[in-house]
Symmetry: D5
Subunit: 91 residues, 10 copies
């Protein structure tokens, strides 16, 4: 079941450089782990923004919330979820 | 080069049933032709809306405009384009 | 799996009275049928609006779209879908 | 008498971890107490947000304000209230 | 129990002059009847708009919806309801 | 001459508890003084918000601005003013 | 007492050319009459819009509403009123 | 003196095909004439929209309004004007 | 050439009282100097806001930007500029 | 390939004066370097704002993101990107 998710990131300036780097590294590892599991099926950067557009393939809304809530950058993100379904014109 | 496109469709009620069916059929054929060419790479239905979220892979902004402008349903669509680029965490 | 859905209804004035009554009756029957099936679990009227707030329990986003798309009043509704999941404080 | 309430939570980062944990625990106890009293009749998490959608059953608007104003997390919430009434199609 | 209600009126131009006058007269009678009953406690015109700001005193949200839904001009109004309660500084 | 005024209050967290209590007490006294003078004719709490909806009866816009500007909580308020006039249906 | 008023005009296309010309002429005469009376103290065109920004000097909100409600183009305008008062830096 | 102008075009469906073609042709001629005069210095199509982004070089706001008001498609456009000035980093 | 300008002021609370007073005094002197030069032709206070509505008469957009950019309170203002021109109904 | 970009700048007040000056100087050098390369083809100041409107000519969306992401002021900017293409009326 697919969901379209946008994530707008805004890391506070007063976060220590080391803490920030560690957070961003954990986010990347977490993201790539979910990609390998086939649950985070697409991630693109929005040009000119610290934002991404993603598509998740999950078994339930509960699973999706769990995945998003545990994003290392979640406290610094605005997340928007849109439910998708197959389009009748899709091949 | 990827672009994220949303299309919200609003076909006027006073359009003749036959004209509407013919238009929707042409839209589907046009869409599937572009999918086969690898230019319309994703199309999903937004749940509860007469809308889709799509991703196009085109060589230029000019080519993208040409593709969108010629959508049979274009006169009845609100189209929103967002430029994408590869995300550093994408595998 | 639960989804929160709002439906704002705007039936065109020029719809024939009989057609309107028939449409509203079909909407009611359709809604009550889904309630009996346990898929449309809550429906409330918003005070002062021709709108409702509903909660659906469905197996997939695809099933939800199918239910909404086939609402007799769908062509005259603005539908907004929000994915829900259990709240950790819920008993 | 039913009211639809959304609560968007934004706890300041500079709140001490202990104070935060204590606040969240008090919120949970307060919420569950009201559920047991039959006044907080539904609470769902919004997927991808630190937000909930709730339905309250209270005897008056005054009682509802009192309940909301005394939420331990109230100072860190944006609360939106919508008056509901029975829907003619509800079984 | 008090509710703040705004009503923005937009009567279609193509409504017959007689029908319009009759509708506006019925609205006025309906409004004054509710004022006499003590349920429509305040009504003010918004300067420069075909809108009013009103305060209703009703026993329930259900009663309020019934009052609003039966306004003769309801089909041509955008109605917005806000729940009120006594202010601690009010004398 | 009547004006509809909404006041949304947001007192900064870092304000000292004593200063805050003193400010809120001064606001209440100021408000009640204006009520006794017949200039602040209505004040209601908006359910679920640190906001009020008020109606002022003043001799001029200049007088209204003076009253609002001197509210002890003015620096922490968003104030919205709407000019009112008698409604032709008011009894 | 001064009020800032914006008027956005949108005359329906299906209005007969003669009726339109007559309406616009009456609007102009009405406007100039109020200017001569010193009640419509400023009127400027907004560049690129069928809109104006105006300042009225009236004795009451009731008088202002009366002036605006009787604008020949009022049924085709969106009017926005903002109460003004003298600025402490004005000479 | 430069102004940034966006034009969103929405030609009504019920305009006769010939009238539409004639209007679009006049718009093009008008636009190119102003380009040749050096007053309409840039015009770009917005991808996926019946809109353009333009830059005008005019001697006054009055001149700009005159140019825009006389666009053959002006009655079917939403025009937005932003005043520009030289940027200190421009070469 | 006239421009309509709104200025919404938000001076940070942590600005030292003396610095604030000095800034406000400089703003007033700057404003009155421009009024004397005939360039800041109108300034009104918006009732209930720390905002003003102004009209400037300048020779160019460049001159206007220079005037606004050098306002002592500019760093704490949100400034909105609208180009004006003579209205055909103005006397 | 052209893109329209707006940049709204908001440098935090607590940034050290020297750091700020150095940042602004680097931004200017970076901007002028890109102008010399023919990639940042237009930059205008928006009157009354710490904002610019720009046009970039780049080979891909990826290149554009790289250019924007590396702006020295990027962490303090809100950037909005709109894809452009040639207009059929452009000479």
């Amino acid at each position: 079941m697919l969901f379209h998710v946008t994530m707008d990131v805004d890391i506070p300036r007063d976060l220590d450089t080391g803490a920030r780097a560690e957070l961003v590294a954990r986010e990347k590892a977490y993201c790539q782990d979910l990609q390998r599991q086939g649950r985070w099926v697409h991630i693109w950067r929005v040009v000119g923004k610290y934002s991404n557009v993603s598509v998740f393939d999950v078994g339930s809304t509960d699973e999706l919330h769990d995945v998003l809530w545990n994003l290392p950058l979640f406290p610094f993100m605005t997340v928007t979820v849109t439910a998708l379904c197959p389009h009748p014109s899709a091949l």
